[in-house]
Amino acid sequence: MKLRFVTLLLGAFVFLFPFYYMLIGSLQAEPDPSVGGAFPRPDNLTGRNYAEIDAAINLGRTLINSGVFTGGVLLGTLVGGVLAGYALARLRFRGRGAVFNLMLLVQVVPFQLLTIPLYVLIVRNYGLADSYLGMILPFAINSTAVFVFRQYFLLLPAELFDAARVDGASELRILWSVAIPLVKPALLTGVLLTFIGPWNEFLWPFLITKQQDLQPLAVALSNYLTTVSARAANPFGAVLAGACVLAAPAVGLFIIFQRQFISQSIESGVKG
């Protein structure tokens, strides 16, 4: 038992240390790459790196943009993804295999291959440049989440559905009142899985938004990191402070929801 605990502790150290180092570095007035630099020293601590970001970026505005972008993707994934996941798992219809294979193919194709055709389609044909919709569209339904939903719907016992069908309930009604309540933990897993993508996405919103007041946080910060931070008093610290600002909301949200995220025990959902 001791061994297991030590292994886990060692692992946790390896996983957390870069984040600790990021936080310490972002608070330093002067960069200190020596071993001593890994420990906080009162005379070398400052909030100036954060103040500089705050001055360079409209944090409130970019956070709202990130929220709208991410929220749109979550909504699309929840509605479209649950319907599709349910149909793929529990309903038999023509073309099911084709849709399933298409879903798998999506995961294999690199996004960079599709970027420009997609950009032309969305901007030239649909006229969605500089709009939230244009930002959301390519990510609107997360295929990995559809896959996860399907797996969880598959786990539900068939008898439940048969009984409901015998009672004459429609498929939509079965989905809404029988299936969804049973896979709530899976839904939250899907939500958090989906959240990470658009929240951290850089290339697409960067291409699609020319207007700064539409840029999400990840784009504004990357721009800050590549161009503006070099002029900051401590570019080293400025980069790390930018990293902290981007990481904080995702990590915070994760800590709040971590129980549900990890709720691997689908039984509790099925039985409960």
Binding site: P31, G95, I116, Y119, V120, L121, V123, R124, N125, Y126, G127, A129, F206, L207, K210, Q211, Q212, S222, N223, T226, T227, V228, A230, R231, P235, F236, V239
Partner: protein
């Protein structure tokens, strides 16, 4: 499912048709009306851009200009290229890299300035002899040479003094002197590296290590002349060998530094343009010297890389008459003066040093750069220009920075590839 697909396809076709239909309607060199422009996002240029737009809008309320910043990071060419393809590029971009002009031109994204009655005469009148370097292979101007950042060597006086080098007039003229000084700096612990140009693989990095020295050694040759690579000749080899020695003796570093190596005292020298004057003011006690040459060419005869950014009119623009007027307004003698004052970068106009005498009396630091700006070399305006630079960079990185191949052989191979690329359409 078929019905859905048809509906989607129909929607796409309709949208495309609508986009095409609205195109071309009333596009002409005389058309006037509101336009959009983009400028770069660094603080100083934003300040200049804002006042320029405000001044124009006050005088022309019927032809309002809307201005936005574009990200100037690694990817601004990507944003522009995508905008051209989608047909939503603005009328003017005050940040067009000369290296991408041939590509934008091939895409049909640019309006030749010669199509305006006074186009050619305005470009050549403003910039003089230098303008020739910006002509495209079809003999037209697709860009207005706007501003340059002629690069020179900055050195840290404190680091030099610490290593026992005369900081007032350090020996940096010839390759031999430069190497000897560098050795002294590193041995005397003036700094960890004598100089630290970014050793990474991006196509544009050679503009700040190989190219300035090559321009100086050849008295102003471009990388490609008459569709043939020039860099594998004796001068190019000597430059490559010089940098090879710097890397081999660890006078220059092979690892990219996050942050500013010159400001942090990691390197005692840097290759910089006039923008550096304001950036390092109060941070480093610096001196400036021209880039080294084999024989120690005098400062007033040394060429260097221009690091210019230009203005182009994009073909998505409808009110081209206004765009041309705004372009002339923004590059007028008065606006160029304001640009110089606000950014310290050199407008690409005839004899900038004598055109704004008060400025250079007030800011003597910039005078050296202004004098240098008369002798600058641009990246060649040829097809496939970015591919050519990437080919060069890969060869340079392999042989000069990492020493995996003989620099001469590597340059020969690259020259062969580049000759092929330059002769393709």
């Amino acid at each position: 499912m078929r019905r859905t697909f048809t509906a989607v396809a129909l929607g796409a076709v309709l949208a495309a048709a609508a986009a095409c239909g609205s195109d071309d309607a009333g596009t002409g060199i005389e058309t006037r009306g509101p336009i959009t422009v983009w400028y770069s996002n660094n603080l100083e240029e934003v300040a200049w851009g804002k006042q320029m737009v405000a001044a124009w809008n006050t005088a022309h309320p019927d032809q309002l200009v809307t201005a936005q910043e574009i990200p100037t990071g690694k990817s601004s060419e990507e944003v522009i290229g995508a905008a051209i393809t989608a047909g939503n590029a603005p009328c003017l971009i005050f940040n067009t890299s000369p290296a991408s002009v041939s590509q934008f031109q091939k895409q049909g994204g640019l309006v030749p300035l010669d199509s305006f009655a006074d186009g050619t005469s305005y470009v050549e009148g403003r910039s003089g002899e230098v303008a020739q370097q910006y002509k495209s292979s079809d003999g037209k101007y697709y860009q207005l040479p706007w501003k340059s950042n002629p690069v020179m060597i900055f050195y840290n006086k404190k680091a030099f003094a610490k290593a026992g080098i005369d900081a007032g007039n350090p020996p940096l003229g010839t390759y031999e002197e430069f190497l000897a000084t560098s050795r002294k700096i590193v041995a005397g612990r003036g700094a960890q590296y004598a100089i630290l140009p970014a050793p990474s693989n991006e196509f544009f990095q050679s503009w700040f290590d190989f190219y300035p020295l090559f321009a100086a050694a050849t008295g102003g040759k471009q990388l490609i002349e008459d569709k043939h690579a020039t860099f594998a000749g004796d001068e190019g080899r000597a430059v490559a060998q010089f940098w090879r020695t710097m890397y081999a003796e660890k006078l220059a570093g092979q690892e990219k530094y996050t942050g500013d190596a010159f400001a942090d005292g990691k390197a005692a020298m840097a290759i910089v343009g006039p923008w550096a004057v304001s950036v390092y003011r109060g941070k480093v006690d610096w001196g400036v010297a021209p880039v080294p040459t084999p024989t120690g060419t005098a400062a007033d005869a040394t060429h260097t890389f221009s690091d210019a950014k230009n203005v182009a009119i994009y073909s998505a623009c409808k009110n081209r008459g206004t765009a041309w007027d705004v372009l002339k307004f923004a590059t007028s003698s008065e606006q160029d003066g304001k640009f110089l004052e606000l950014t310290g970068q050199m407008p690409l106009r005839n004899d900038v040093a004598s055109a704004y005498p008060e400025y250079f009396t007030k800011n003597p630091d910039y005078r050296t750069f202004a004098e240098q700006s008369a002798r600058t070399v641009e990246v060649p305006n040829v097809p496939n220009s970015i591919t050519i630079w990437q080919t060069f960079r890969d060869a340079y990185s392999r042989s000069v920075i990492f020493g995996k191949q003989d620099p001469g052989a590597s340059l020969d191979e690259a020259a062969k590839r580049v000759d092929e690329l330059a002769s393709q359409p």
